[in-house]
Amino acid sequence: MSDMDEQGIPAPEGASDIINTDYEIGQDNIDGQVGPFGFDIHNPVFLVSGLAVVAFVFYTLALPEQAGSAFTWLFGAVTKGFDWFFLGAANIFVLFCLFLIVSPLGSVRLGGAEATPDYTYIGWFAMLFAAGMGIGLMFYGVSEPMSHFSSSFGGIASEGGARTDWAPLGAAEGDEAAATRLGMAATIFHWGLHPWAIYAVVALALALFSYNKGLPLTIRSAFYPILGERVWGWWGHCIDILAVFATLFGLATSLGFGATQANAGLSELFGVPVNDTVEVLLITGITAIALVSVLRGLDGGVKILSEINMGLAFLLLLFVLIAGPTVAILTGFGDYLLAYVEYLPALSNPVGREDVNFMQGWTSFYWAWWISWSPFVGMFIARVSRGRSVREFLICVLLIPSLVCVLWMSVFGGVAIQQVVQDGYTAAQDAELPIQLFKMLDALPLTGITSLIGIVLVIVFFVTSSDSGSLVIDTITAGGKVDAPVPQRVFWCIFEGAVAIVLLLSAGGLASLQSMVISTGLPFTVVLLLMCFAIWRGLRAERS
C-alpha cells in the first residue's frame, strides 16, 4: 500500500475538532455492475430499507382493511397519546436554536474556521424553501387560516364536559376580528418557528458532524458522541433504515395525494376529468421531469428549479398583495405577527389544555408530520449549507423562513378571510381543500394567468421534492457517499413514483400509509432530542 491509500483524518479548512475513528467511508459498501449500470451501495441499509418498503406496500395491498385499521390505530395512539411529548419537544427545539444564536457557540463555522459558503444567499434560500415546505404553502396557505377562522368564529361546543369543537384555545365566538387574529396566530404557529426549528436541529447536526468532524453524511453520524463506534453497527443501520423508510413513504404518499389534488385543480380550471388515469399520468409526468432534474444534478437541476419557483411564488404573492386589499393586508401582517407572539405561550403549552381537538388533531399532527419529514429536509439543508456560521445558519433557517411564512399566510389567508368578512364571498370557504387557493384567486383579476402559475408552482414543487428526496435516499443508502453512480438516484426516483402509483390505485392505501409515516415522528422525536445533546457537545469541542 502506498501513502495514498491510508485513511487519516486531517483538519478541515481552518481549525475544527475532528473525530478520530477508524471507520472508513464506504467500507461496508458493495460496488459492482448490473449490465451496463454501475452501483455502490451500503450493506445492509440499501437492501433492508428497499425490501421493507416493498413488504409494507404488499401488506397494505394484500390486507387493506387490516393494514388500514392497524395504521389508523397507530396514528391515533401516537398523536393523541403523545401530544404532550411532541409539543414539549418542539418547544425545546425552538429554545435550543434561539439559545445557540445568542451563545458564543454560534460563531462556529460549518466546514472549519476558514470555509467559504458553497451557495449564494438566493440559491441557498430558494433550496431551503423548496425542500422545507413549498408544496404545503400552496395547499394550506388559504385553507388553514380559513379553517381556524371558521372554527374560532363558531365558538366552543362541548359534550359531557369535553370539547367537541376544533377551535384553538378559547375560540372567539361571533367576533370576526378576534376570530381572524386567533385563526392567523394558530396557522403561523404551525408554519413558523417550530417546524423550522425541527429542520434546523437535524440539518445542523448533520452538517456539523460531516463538515467539521469528517464523518459520512448520514443520519447515524450525529449519534457518534452518544453511541461511539457502535454507530457503524446495527444501531446506526436501524437509524438510517428508519430515515430512508420515512423519507420514501413520505414522498410517495404526498406525491400520490398531490396528484389527486392537482387533478382536482385541473378539473376545476380546464375541465380535465378526475380519474385514476389522469392521476397516474400526473405522477408519471412529475417523475419524468424529476428524472431529468436528477440527471442534471444539484446545481443544474434542483437549484435552478428552486430558484424559478421562488421567483414565481414571489410574483404570485406580489400580485395577490397588489390586486387584493393592499393596505388591509399590510396592516394585517403586523397585526397577525403580534397575535402570534401574544398567543404563542398558550398555543405551545403542552399540558392541561382544553382545546383537545385542536391540540391533538392539528398541532400534534403537524409536529409529528414535520418531524417525520426532518431526516429528508434536514439532510438536504445540510448538503447545501457548508461555509455558514452556526449563527448565520440558524438565522437563515429559523427566523427568515418563519417571517416569510407569516407574510405568505397573511397575504393568502388574509385575503381569503377578508373576502368572507368584507365581501360575503364564500366560494373559497366552501370549496374542497385542493381548490380553495384557486377559488380565492377567482375573485381577483387575471384569474386564468394566476391559476396557471398556481398549478405550475404545485407541479414544480413536487418535482423538486422528488428530486432532492432521491438525492437524500441515495446518499443514505450509499453509506454517506455523495459520488455513488447516478443510476442509483434514477432507481430511487422511479421507485418512489412506482410506490405512489401502486398506493394510489389501491383503495385507502395512501391514507393508511401516510398515517404510518406520521407515526414514525415518535421515534424520530427521541432521535432529535438526542441530536440537540450531540450538537451541544460537538460545538463545545469546536470552540475549545
Binding site: M4, P12, P36, Y211, L217, D299, G300, R386, V482, P485
Partner: protein, 138 residues
Amino acid sequence: MYTRIMVPVDLAHKDKLGKSLDVAAKLAASFEAELVLVGVTSALPGSLAHTPDEYREKLDAFAAEQGAAHGITARALAKIGHDVVTDLDRSLLAAIDEAGADLVVMQSHVPNITDYVWPSHGGHLASHAKVSVMIVRN
C-alpha cells in the same frame, strides 16, 4: 508541439486508469511538456478524503509519484464540485482552462448501449473542449 498535457484521474479507481497515464507520460516526455493530473471531489467527506484539503494532499502526492516514476514534471489540480457525479463534465472542461492545458489524454470505456442516453465523459469532453482530446480505450 504540446506544452501542458492534462489527464483526468479518479483516485478511487486508480486501477482503472489503464493506459492513459502511461500514454500521457510518454507524450509529455517526448514533447518536454508538463503533466497536469486533474481530480474532481466533493467538499463532503468521502472514501478517499474527509476534507478537500486532504484530497488535495493526496492528489499532489500522486502527481509527485508519477512525475518521479516517469522522469517528467507533473503537478496536480483538484477541483471541488457540489455534486461531483453530475458536474464532472463541466468541472473537467473548466479545468482545461484553469490548467492552461493544450492536450487532454483520458481513459474511456468501449462504447455500449448506454452511451446513447449517457454519453461518456470522454465523448463529452472531445465534443466540447477547444483543445485536442485523445481518448485511450481499455
